[in-house]
């Protein structure tokens, strides 16, 4: 089997056994990126030289028998994670020239594990979008059909993994931004529990919702990545101080007796019939493996999209205030005065979707509107979290579709933000409640991948990864690679 089809665990083992070198592996992936990344526009920055330098250092470590978990394994970061010395744009003109002086905690952890960073993946500007079309660097294309979107905001990571330009990539999920592109690109995307992975150095969009995670071909690969990425960070007050298990070691358990909740609200009128059928087939497979399926209701879930579009813009309007042209980022030329500096630097530096959300957020926090919007949304958020809590009193995890439809055409929803926002209707609930969730490929509709979503209680990453892995042992949807990239 060619190297680019091997799993992360196989690559790590192969490197340790010196079947191939990290330099060879890195050159192979860089060549794949050079051949295909332009078409897909999956990367904002490709780090040829530093990747090869890291690979040489990794080979040295491997030769000395000092291999760590992922020594010599290439991967990519979503361009939202700050990387010292390598520019971090967040998909925005605002940060086009920005080189972070420090590494995000996730970046440092993966570096310490011995990985080789190939580059930074393209994304919706400041992670605001569901199609990776809002990037200053142009839209990312879906490797299954380049006229279609890959989903977003982590569309670059999802497309790169789907086309096997990288064995795995980091991603972030504020309102479905890992799971939705994973579903649309036919790969596995894990959003951990809020607080499981440090947010330090991950450029903030909506702080109470943002969570770093991973996109990889399989649940097993995701488990391997998460074991390295997760953990308490004293620099992030919202990270949680609980032990990180070896997620790979937790895989392989039977799902017989697993109580699966089928969320009634996930199977609404908006769900494409064929998309729904693939999900039903996956659920049937679980039943066949001995899981018990039970319908549950999350009555407030239909309010999750409007709730999200109050809370997230409110936080983003404040988080993005630091981009003022004063200390870093884009600064307009020849400002007349302070107001002019602010207006033009921000006006030129931010794209339309970012501006829309900053304005929405500013509005919902304004005197006279705060109670009606922000406070009300926070209350609904509590109700949604309670719905999930109630459901988990009866079942071990929830399952349903990740998205209402497979990938849609580039440009199709750009003029209609509400329709675009509804693409995240099944994923946003887990963000509002801070729950771990994963999307895994569960078949195709007209040649396009469909995602199955599994949502667990807080810190049940091990359980949902195991359930996903159990499915992937029975199916090969996650091994499908688009023809042009096979």
């Amino acid at each position: 089997m060619s190297l680019h089809k091997k799993s992360l665990a196989e690559l790590a083992a192969g490197l340790r056994e010196r079947k191939f070198s990290s330099v060879e592996l890195t050159q192979l992936y860089l060549a794949r990126i050079d051949a295909h990344a332009g078409m897909l526009n999956a990367f904002i920055t490709v780090a040829h030289e530093s990747a090869l330098a890291s690979a040489r250092a990794a080979d040295h470590e491997l030769a000395a028998g000092r291999a760590r978990a992922l020594t010599g394994v290439p991967f990519a970061h979503k361009d939202i994670f700050c990387t010292a010395g390598l520019r971090t744009t967040c998909g925005s003109r605002m940060l086009d020239q920005f080189v972070s002086p420090y590494d995000a905690t996730v970046v440092a952890k993966l570096k310490d594990a011995g990985t080789v960073l190939l580059g930074k993946t393209n994304m919706d500007e400041f992670a605001m979008g569901s199609s990776s079309e809002t990037s200053y660097y142009g839209p990312v294309k879906n490797p299954w059909n380049t006229k279609l979107v890959p989903g977003g905001s982590s569309g670059g990571s999802a497309a790169a993994v789907a086309a096997r330009l990288v064995p795995a990539a980091t991603a972030t999920d504020t309102g479905g931004s890992i799971r939705q592109p994973a579903a649309l690109c036919g790969v596995t995307g894990l959003k951990p529990t809020y607080g499981r992975v440090s947010r330090y150095g991950m450029i903030a969009f909506a702080s109470s919702l943002d969570q770093g995670g991973v996109i990889a071909p399989s649940a097993e690969d995701a488990a391997l990545m998460l074991s390295v990425m997760a953990g308490f960070d004293p620099r992030d007050s919202t990270s949680v101080d609980t032990a990180v298990p070896d997620y790979v070691a937790l895989l392989g358990k039977s799902v017989a007796g697993l109580r699966v909740g089928i969320v009634k609200e996930f199977f609404d009128a908006g769900l494409d019939a064929q998309n729904g059928r693939r999900v039903e087939e996956a659920l049937a497979l679980y039943r066949g493996l001995g899981a018990t399926l039970k319908e549950v209701s999350l009555p407030n879930l239909p309010l999750s999209v409007p709730t999200y579009y109050v809370v997230a813009p409110a936080e983003c309007s404040s988080n993005l205030a630091r981009f003022d042209g004063v200390r870093f980022g884009h600064r307009c030329s020849n400002p007349r005065d302070l107001q002019d500096l602010y207006r033009r630097s921000r006006g030129e530096g931010f794209g339309a979707e970012v501006k829309r959300r900053v304005m929405t957020g500013t509005y919902v926090l304004s005197a006279g509107y705060y109670d009606a919007y922000y406070l009300k949304a926070q209350k609904v958020r509590q109700l949604i979290a309670r719905d999930f809590r109630d459901a988990f009193a009866e079942v071990d995890m929830l399952m349903g579709p990740t998205t209402p439809t497979p990938a849609f055409a580039i440009g199709a929803k750009m003029d209609d933000p509400i329709t675009m926002y509804l693409n995240d209707i099944y994923t946003i609930g887990a963000n509002l409640a801070g729950l771990p969730a994963i999307s895994i490929p569960c078949g195709f509709v007209a040649g396009l991948p469909v995602g199955l979503q599994l949502v667990g209680p807080h810190f049940a990453e091990g359980a949902i990864l195991n359930a996903a892995h159990a499915y992937q042992r029975e199916t090969d949807w996650h091994r499908h690679v688009p023809q042009d990239y096979a």
Binding site: S100, G201, S207, A314, A321, F323, D324, R327, Y342, L365
Partner: protein
């Protein structure tokens, strides 16, 4: 209508910088006077991706203040973001506490010069970070930004609008200043801006129930400015109202050079700060045990100390208040009285009188006094045992201040020992009577006032060293003949 018919209403918002080693949300040093931006790390600069982490010491300090003013300590308090754009505010928001402050509902008692007492309510005290500062001097055409101060921990102590004069406001501010230094949570340095206040000032007709429209005077960093700014502002508002005008709600700045306040921005121009809970920080949750532990660890507080001094040493409430205005001053005073083993009023008069005046003149605080408590006690002992008179003692004090020598050494060197020997004083009296026969005759014919003349002449002849009591007694027997 006369100014007498107006009542002043004042509330103060005091900003005290907490004396922690590092900043409230970052590990940078929290210190004054360094080169610009030396104490500003990536968190202080608001770099993309960085996050705040609360300094636990700041919470301890706030709780200390809260229990000292008998306030409610919130078991859960929340940091919020106050959003506004300004070049020296790196994140575009200030982290502060808004709806759920850590301290609420306390009080302090002030004692005025006439001995009257008044309780001033404290609405709340909340934690927040300071902003940086913009620099303009020596930078033609551009503005510089120094973020050393950005993220310095502050506690904002908000009073009820319960002060009715500039003097009350100053007494309250001094009381808070004393308290924060007793608690060792703020160095109280007003020149460096560690302790400053905003004054909310309004006037209303006496007897009126509702408050007048207030003006907020920003950033007053001395007790004198507080008093002057309030007095100016009150007269401005009264004049305005009496001439048929209207006070507008606004923020004003005090110009110390001109001695006046001037408008900075009106309510209409004020920012909508769009406060909301900071999602980067968890609520601060405190246990009863934590609060009790801090309460048990409190030092003797100024009021307790003042009450003890008043009752132990028979001092007036006002004197006790002055002597306890700092922990160091009170300690100095107590050392002097203990050394003396008595004479607490004599000690109080000297500490608050000669010593305080000399320190004040040279701008020294008590810790840097050239005359130690032991040395002052040795001097006062010589007054008490009548070796020298109070007047001579002032001369000795000055010599001690200048030379650093002991009182006894100076008394011996300069021969200032008081003459108490009856025979020696009588000899001088005889001499004086002989020299001034005309005055003696007048005295004896009924001019009683001349008694003082003879006291003065004897004192002059003895270089002020005659024991005044003994001299009076002897003159009373000798002069009548």
């Amino acid at each position: 209508m006369s100014a007498m018919e107006w009542e002043t209403v004042i509330g103060l918002e005091i900003h005290a910088q907490l004396s922690t080693r590092s900043k409230i949300f970052s590990g940078s040093a929290s210190s004054y006077g360094a080169r610009p931006n030396v104490h500003a790390n990536l968190v202080d600069l608001g770099y993309p991706g960085v996050l705040p982490v609360l300094n636990a010491e700041v919470v301890r300090m706030a709780v200390k203040l809260g229990v000292a003013i008998d306030a409610r300590i919130a078991r859960t308090s929340v940091f919020a973001r106050k959003n506004y754009f300004y070049p020296d505010l790196p994140k575009g928001y200030q982290i502060s506490q808004y709806e759920l402050p850590i301290v609420a509902g306390g009080a302090l008692e002030i004692v005025l010069e006439d001995g009257s007492r008044k309780r001033i309510g404290i609405t709340r005290a909340h934690l927040e970070e300071d902003a940086g500062k913009s620099l303009h001097e020596g930078l033609p055409g551009v503005s510089g930004i120094d973020l050393n101060r950005a993220g310095t921990p502050l506690i904002e102590i908000v009073s009820e609008p319960e002060m009715r004069s500039a003097k009350e406001a100053v007494a309250y501010m001094k009381k808070v200043h004393t308290l924060v230094r007793y608690l060792e949570i703020c160095d109280g340095n007003m020149q460096e801006g560690s302790f400053r206040c905003d004054a909310n000032v309004s006037v209303r007709k006496k007897g009126a129930e509702i408050f007048g429209t207030r003006a907020e005077i920003k950033n007053l960093n001395s007790f004198r400015y507080v008093e002057k700014a309030i007095l100016y502002e009150v007269s401005r508002q009264v004049e305005l109202l009496e001439s048929g005008g209207r006070v507008v709600q606004e923020t004003r700045l005090y110009d110390a050079d001109k001695g006046e306040t001037r408008s900075m921005r009106t309510k209409e121009e004020a920012n909508d700060y769009r406060y909301f809970p900071d999602p980067d920080l968890l609520p601060v949750v405190l246990t009863d045990e934590f609060i009790e532990e801090i309460r048990r660890g409190l030092p003797e507080l100024p009021d307790q100390k003042a009450r003890r001094l008043a009752s132990d040493y028979g001092l007036s409430a006002y004197d006790a208040g002055v002597l306890t205005s700092s922990r160091e001053l009170a300690a100095y005073y107590e050392e002097v009285t203990q050394e003396l083993q008595g004479e607490p009023k004599l000690a109080a008069n000297w500490v608050m009188g000669e010593l305080a005046a000399s320190l004040n003149k040279e701008g020294l605080d008590i810790a840097r006094s050239p005359i130690s408590s032991g040395k002052l006690a040795a001097l006062l002992r010589r007054i008490a045992d009548e070796t020298i008179s109070g007047k001579i003692a002032k001369e000795v004090f000055e010599a001690m201040w200048a030379s650093g020598k002991e009182a006894d050494a100076i008394i011996e060197e300069k021969g200032l020992r008081q003459i108490t020997d009856t025979a020696a004083i009588l000899a001088v009296i005889d001499e004086v009577m002989a020299k001034n026969s005309a005055q003696l005759a007048d005295y004896r014919s009924g001019k009683d006032k001349l008694f003082g003349f003879f006291v003065g002449q004897v004192m002059k002849a003895t270089g002020g060293k005659a024991n005044p009591a003994e001299l009076t007694k002897l003159l009373k027997t000798k002069l009548p003949g």
